[in-house]
């Protein structure tokens, strides 16, 4: 559930980008940070290793503006993709309102995608959330590369919940905002 501050007329939603290492989570955030109206965003905070791999999370606050008298914000987070950082991933998921699962469409990354997808549901179920209240989108990323799964095949392999699916190439920005729109509208609809 979002943080609703009726006194300050503010509502904040937390969106988390999840997925295996090097699937493009941070690239999504960097594109949004580059392209969105600078007045609508805060600073992009990255806690990364020297090799620029996410160590803890990236964080980007976005302000939607005042909607029906409520200052509405989306706080975007990424998790570290590498599997040995699972303890950190669980922490980032705390209080989440919506998840974007970034799937790497390359055929060679299938095992990593499946492992990360199962790990996501393990972690969500582990924190006892009512998943019917959670916004969820699968972003099939890297559609611009060769040797990739078809959308249908990847959907069959990963999308056991029949969730919304978007196609993207985060490096060029294709589909990045479309994905964000879908999940943001879902969290607002689901959390009332």
């Amino acid at each position: 559930m979002p943080l609703i501050n009726f006194a300050a007329r503010e509502i904040n939603y937390k969106i988390v980008y999840y997925g295996c290492g090097l699937c493009g989570k941070t690239t999504n955030l960097q594109y949004i940070h580059r392209k969105i109206n600078p007045d609508a965003r805060g600073k992009l905070v990255s806690i990364a290793t020297e090799e620029e791999r996410t160590l803890y999370f990236d964080f980007l606050p976005l302000t939607l503006g005042t909607v029906k008298g409520m200052q509405t914000r989306f706080h975007l987070y990424t998790v570290p993709g590498q599997s040995y950082y699972n303890a950190s991933r669980k922490l980032v998921l705390q209080g989440v309102d919506g998840v974007i699962f970034v799937a790497d469409s390359q055929i060679t990354r299938l095992d990593e995608n499946v492992e990360s997808y199962l790990n996501l549901w393990d972690n969500l179920l582990g924190q006892g959330d009512d998943l019917s209240k959670l916004g969820f989108v699968i972003q099939m990323n890297k559609r611009d590369l060769g040797d990739i799964f078809s959308v249908e095949d990847l959907n069959e392999l990963l999308n056991h919940t029949g969730s919304s699916v978007t196609e993207a190439s985060a490096i060029t920005g294709e589909g990045v905002f479309d994905t964000l729109k879908v999940v943001c509208k879902q969290v607002i609809a689901k959390t009332g």
Binding site: L3, F6, K35, G42, L64, K68, M70, G128, F177
Partner: protein
């Protein structure tokens, strides 16, 4: 049992928190105070001037605190209820108010750590009562058109330029 705990703050709680934070700022001689949610979202602040990085500060402090809780578990400690960073010019004190709320205090050499800890602990006891009382109060209703208006705003903001 499935849970999705939200945090809803009404006018009365907000006013009481604001008054208490201002008082705490005064008695401790601290420079900046903020109540934030454990998921990293700011609730209210008390500061001499607007802090431009409040959102980042809240996000990092909450994450840091959550990591500390996990460290406690690994070390077979029930919980660490306090996080303290000492700097050359500024100190950061993060403490737990309730399961969903944290209190951030920053202060310099003009005051003492002991004083901040003492008054912060007393303030937390009052803050805890304020937030626990909240659970019994039904939250106000959101505007019925919020979803459709937000949808339009999302389409306007999240477009490629």
């Amino acid at each position: 049992m499935a849970r999705r705990k939200g945090l809803v703050i009404n006018d009365r709680q907000f006013d009481r928190c604001d008054v208490l934070l201002r008082k705490l700022k005064e008695v401790t001689g601290s420079s900046f105070l903020a109540l934030i949610s454990t998921s990293g979202q700011p609730i209210t602040t008390a500061s001499d001037s607007y802090h431009p990085e409040t959102l980042s500060l809240a996000s990092l402090a909450a994450s840091s605190f959550a990591a500390t809780q996990q460290l406690a578990k690994i070390l077979d400690e029930n919980e660490f209820t306090l996080l303290f960073h000492e700097g050359k010019g500024l100190n950061l004190h993060v403490s737990q108010v309730t399961e969903q709320v944290l209190l951030i205090v920053t202060f310099g050499h003009e005051t003492q750590v002991g004083k901040v800890r003492l008054y912060t602990q007393r303030a937390i006891e009052v803050l805890r009562q304020i937030f626990e009382a909240a659970d019994d109060t039904p939250p106000p209703e959101m505007d019925a058109d919020f979803e459709s208006s937000a949808g339009t705003a999302i389409d306007d903001l999240f477009k490629d330029v």
